[in-house]
Amino acid sequence: MIYVIDDDVIMAECITRVIAQRFPAEECEIFTNGIQAIQEINGEVKLIFLDILLDGPDGFAFLNELMSYNDTAKIPVVIVTSLKIKQDLSGYGVVKVLDKSTMKPEEIVSIAEKYLCKKPLHSDSIAGEAEK
């Protein structure tokens, strides 16, 4: 299970679309705010894509909440934001910071590949499967 937390549904859909195509076995869930996500999260979540400027509590508040629970403290988090983040957030489980305005789908794929420990499906094989 992968969580995508972004108040911009269109941006969240862009991320889930890439994952759904390359990792079809993985389930993605979109949350538009951190409160709802923290209420539903459990240790089965393998990866989180998190925006910082959210409606209500921001992404940093979400990270603090995440760290405070035993079962969620070790979930890897990818920050997806247009803010320039200079501080080191690795202590909060942040494994990568992606800039919304410059990120590419390949970056999402390579992160997911690393933290889901799965090989992504390639476009050719997907096309082949569709033809079958």
Binding site: D7, D8, V9, I10, M11, E13, C14, R17, V18, A20, Q21, T32, N33, L53, L54, D55, G56, D58, S82, K100, S101, M103, K104, P105, S123
Partner: protein, 228 residues
């Protein structure tokens, strides 16, 4: 000069988001799962670019306000509201939100410029949609108050901070200012609404609620119809 530079920075920042989104949507075209998804992405690209273009148009209108190019005339305010609602209803539906209208004003005509009034209402409604929680409604209400026609757009989102409320209470917003409790907001929409309202001799303001905010504009009714 400083506020002008600040305004340019805010405008640039505000336009960065839709451009970044368009870039991601363009990438998404390669990842669409079927034809329906492809059409969905295309319609999102059109929506995002429409909103960005509208913002650019509003900014260029501000630059032309001083030239007095926008004619003031009797405007049927309900018809303008209907047009805005018609344009935004797909966007509201797509974002799982609802926009309700309530017209209880007696004066149908107001003294305004249709384009500017349309932009103000559009910005208020878009703002309400953005800052409302999912599956909630926003309300657009027209009423008569103290001899003026008042248009309220109510959202059920985070409350407006005191400093922004105070600056609105003291008159028009003089420069775009980020609204801390409303993330992603540069206050540009409010600044645009303020500028346009000032031009139309109308008042803008905000009412804080426990569970959201109402932004309003008070317009002068047109007496032209009463001549008949």
């Amino acid at each position: 000069m400083e506020s002008e530079v600040n305004g340019i920075l805010v405008a640039a920042h505000e336009l960065k988001a839709p451009l970044g989104l368009l870039r991601q949507l363009a990438f998404s075209l390669d990842y669409a799962k079927d034809k329906e998804d492809l059409q969905h992405i295309q319609s999102q690209m059109i929506d995002v670019s429409d909103r960005a273009l509208r913002q650019v148009q509003d900014l260029t209108k501000i630059a032309r306000l001083d030239d007095g190019l926008f004619e003031m005339e009797p405007v049927a305010v309900r018809a303008v509201c209907d047009d805005v609602v018609m344009e935004l209803r797909h966007l509201f539906r797509f974002n799982h939100r609802n926009l309700e209208i309530d017209y209880c004003n007696r004066s149908r005509l107001v003294v305004a410029n249709r384009d500017l009034l349309y932009s103000v209402i559009y910005n208020f409604c878009l703002n309400a949609m953005h800052y409302s929680d999912e599956e909630t409604k926003s309300e657009l209400k027209l009423s008569d108050k103290n001899g003026k026609v008042r248009l309220d757009v109510r959202d059920f989102g985070p409350a407006l901070p005191m400093d922004v409320w105070r600056s609105l209470k003291n008159g028009w917003v003089k420069k775009p200012t980020s609204i801390a409790m409303r993330p992603g907001s540069s206050g540009l929409g409010l600044y645009i609404a303020s500028k346009f309202s000032q031009y139309m001799n109308a008042n803008v303001g905000a009412v804080r609620h426990r569970d959201g905010t109402s932004f309003f504009i008070e317009l002068n009714p047109s007496k032209q119809a009463s001549l008949f």
